[in-house]
Amino acid sequence: MPRTDFGPPHYMEMLPPVIKRNYGRWKYHEILRPGVLKHVAESGEEIYSIRVGSPRLVSTDFIREVCDLADKYCDGYVRFTSRHNIEFLVTKKENIEPLIQEVKAKGWPVGGTGNCLSNMVHTQGWIHCHTPATDASGIVKAVMDELYEYFVEEKLPAKLRISLACCLNMCGAVHCSDIAILGVHRTPPRVDHELLAKVSEIPTVVASCPTGAIRPNPKLKSVEVNEERCMYCGNCFTMSPAMQIMDPENDGVSIWVGGKVSNARTAPMFSRLAIPYLPNNPPRWPEVVEAVKKLVEVWATHARKGERMGEWIERIGWETFFKLADIPFTDKHIDDFIFSVPTFRTTTQFRW
């Protein structure tokens, strides 16, 4: 029998000696240039972190290449960030430049620090999930190709976090990003009565629906969907393969803006709906890429220094945002789920 329940490797075994020596006793840091952080300890020791963008979906040979560089320049230590970047941890200053040259020669971008775009947190999409309304890796690649300059150069008003989830289960928890790209289904599930009777328990399927849209249909030993109540979440499909939610004609992408996680200055905020629907147009999703780029540019043009996208929008007002971004406001933008009322304007103060 193999050992079980022993937990992850102890982090101390994975830390470079300079970190072990200065653990909890770092004094300050500086961003030397995009992608290069310098941390100085109270002891005076220094560590340089070189942040490198990764496609996240990578082969074992990619990891081995990372290891080769870490062996050559970082005494065999490396880490990954919460947004899927690689960080090479360098103690010898003279190793920084040759490391960066080798990284660049491989076509890997150095950046993502400070007021840069960081890597996109994203989900599995058509690569590995059964409910997606769109792909994940493909859109991420197309968007990052277009916004590449913002990752490698620091020229935005503040941090920019873009995330993607391919359905509203939001494995990527995209709901607090400056820009969130979210796959949406727009039609209720199509019930395959024969299959359902064979493979699924009716009470489980009924109970899976958060809006109570599913009723038993005893005659067919199946269920039926009250289409007016369904908000296309796909939960029933997760429970039963007989509730097909994917719909190539109607599935697509929505875009949400102004979320943030950090407590710096303003409290964390949810991302809010900007564009309710754009079509799936693989392999490069030009409509989505274009829309995201425009949003970044509108914000970069109008925001004050240091203002995250949501902070900027809250200052100018959403009514002004829609005007500046040239996005039509529709009935889809007005919340009609269970926490809607506090989003309605209950004052006569607003901008024209």
Binding site: T4, P55, R79, W126, A173, F270, K305
Partner: protein
């Protein structure tokens, strides 16, 4: 050749950002399953629909989770991804690795899997993407020998994660890596044998910058903070001013509570400590000059989650300040009370935040023994439907 068969996804080999398609092709040189994965993806690009389906439950001996079963719905066309299960491997706290450990992982995965991975999944695990049912157990056996355990899935504790914390961040008010590791070990059973109404996530950030997005993504968020005044090194503040930082505009005026004032003549930064809400902004701007106060601990928040089912919630404060010193007994006891109460009262697929929303904070607080304090709310209630406990009123006969 592979190229001829995947014209659509091949388009994504172009462009400056590193390409996942190239990565899949690299894996495909050794692993036929990676080749079939790419071909199936190309079909999805043509038809605009996914091709994975539900199947039988799979796993490894002794575990109830950590493996996600995955089956192609086109097994005749793509036989090598007929079974293509994912293994979630618990990452070391803070995502630090020796190359030795990484190479071992790669060798095992090349032996048993598709050669494809996610470094990392959005919850934090190492994701080993795609293997057959038959390979799951031998793969796990070798991983176990190499010191890697499974992560979480299903209705149980999910793999906790932590920001880089004291390992490389001067802002960290708690030992995020140790808290994360210690909780992961303490609650192995809940992690590996899902037994709860739904998932439960714990994330640990060393300060209010919240680099692991705990407030948005964790049912239980642990965020470092302090009591007392920010420590100010006035000479270093003056250095920032001399170096061109506009302290009035970029620091003082951005303070959410007006707790700061700048005397440009004397080059002195003044702080009204009682007004500081520890948002981290001024410290972020001048890390050389400002440091968190000396009495350190964490704010604990509960309820954060993505949309499913009742809408997305941000975590809300339930303990404004707790000191966190190993072995973290107070924290673990509180977590155990929360787990018990939720397990007992939660409906199937009801996250802890949704349960509290359904039955009310007062019920939750009473059940887990936490005192109500004003830090828990932005403002008190406005509606008069106030409920009283039976013992608080006199029963009329």
């Amino acid at each position: 050749m592979a190229n001829a068969q995947t014209p659509r996804v091949d388009e994504l080999e172009k462009g400056p950002w590193p390409s996942f398609v190239k990565e899949i092709k690299r894996a495909a040189e050794k692993h036929p399953s990676a080749g079939d994965l790419l071909r199936q993806l190309d079909l999805s690009y043509a038809e605009k629909i996914g091709h994975w389906k539900h199947g039988g439950i799979v796993g490894v001996k002794g575990y109830g989770g950590g493996v996600i079963g995955r089956y192609s719905d086109k097994p005749e066309e793509f036989p090598h991804v007929k079974e293509f299960h994912t293994m979630r491997i618990n990452q070391p706290s803070g995502w630090f690795y020796t190359t030795e450990a990484l190479r071992k992982l790669c060798d095992i995965w090349d032996k048993y899997g598709s050669g494809l991975t996610n470094f990392h999944g959005s919850t934090g695990d190492i994701i080993l993407l795609g293997t057959t049912t038959g390979n799951l157990q031998p793969c796990f056996d070798e991983l176990s020998d190499a010191g890697f355990d499974l992560g979480g899935s299903g209705g149980g504790l999910r793999t906790p994660s932590a920001c880089v914390g004291p390992a490389r961040c001067e802002f960290s008010c708690i030992d995020t890596l140790d808290v994360c590791h210690s909780l992961t070990l303490e609650f192995q059973d809940f992690l590996h044998r899902p037994q709860w109404p739904y998932k439960f996530k714990i994330k640990v950030s060393g300060c209010a910058n919240d680099c692991v997005a705990s407030i948005a993504r964790a049912d239980f968020a642990i965020i470092g903070t302090w009591k007392g005044a920010i420590q100010i090194d006035q000479a270093a503040v003056a250095d920032y001013a001399d170096a061109g930082l506009n302290i009035q505009e970029e620091v003082v005026e951005k303070c959410p509570t007006g707790a700061l004032a700048w005397d440009g003549e004397k080059k002195e930064l003044k702080l009204k400590a009682e007004d500081c809400v520890r948002c981290m902004h001024c410290i972020n701007k001048m890390p050389k000059a400002l440091r968190p106060g000396e009495q350190r601990g964490a704010t604990l928040l509960v309820g954060g989650k993505a949309t499913i089912l009742k809408s997305a919630f941000l975590g809300w404060v339930i303990v404004p300040f707790m000191e966190l010193k190993p072995p973290y007994t107070e924290l673990k006891d509180l977590l155990r009370r929360i787990f018990d109460w939720w397990d007992e009262n939660g409906k199937n697929r009801e996250r802890i935040g949704e349960l509290i929303y359904r039955v009310g904070m007062r019920t939750f607080l009473k059940a887990v023994g936490l005192p109500p304090v004003p830090q828990m709310v932005f403002r008190p209630r406005a509606n008069p439907y106030v409920f009283w406990w039976p013992e608080e009123v006199k029963r009329n006969a």
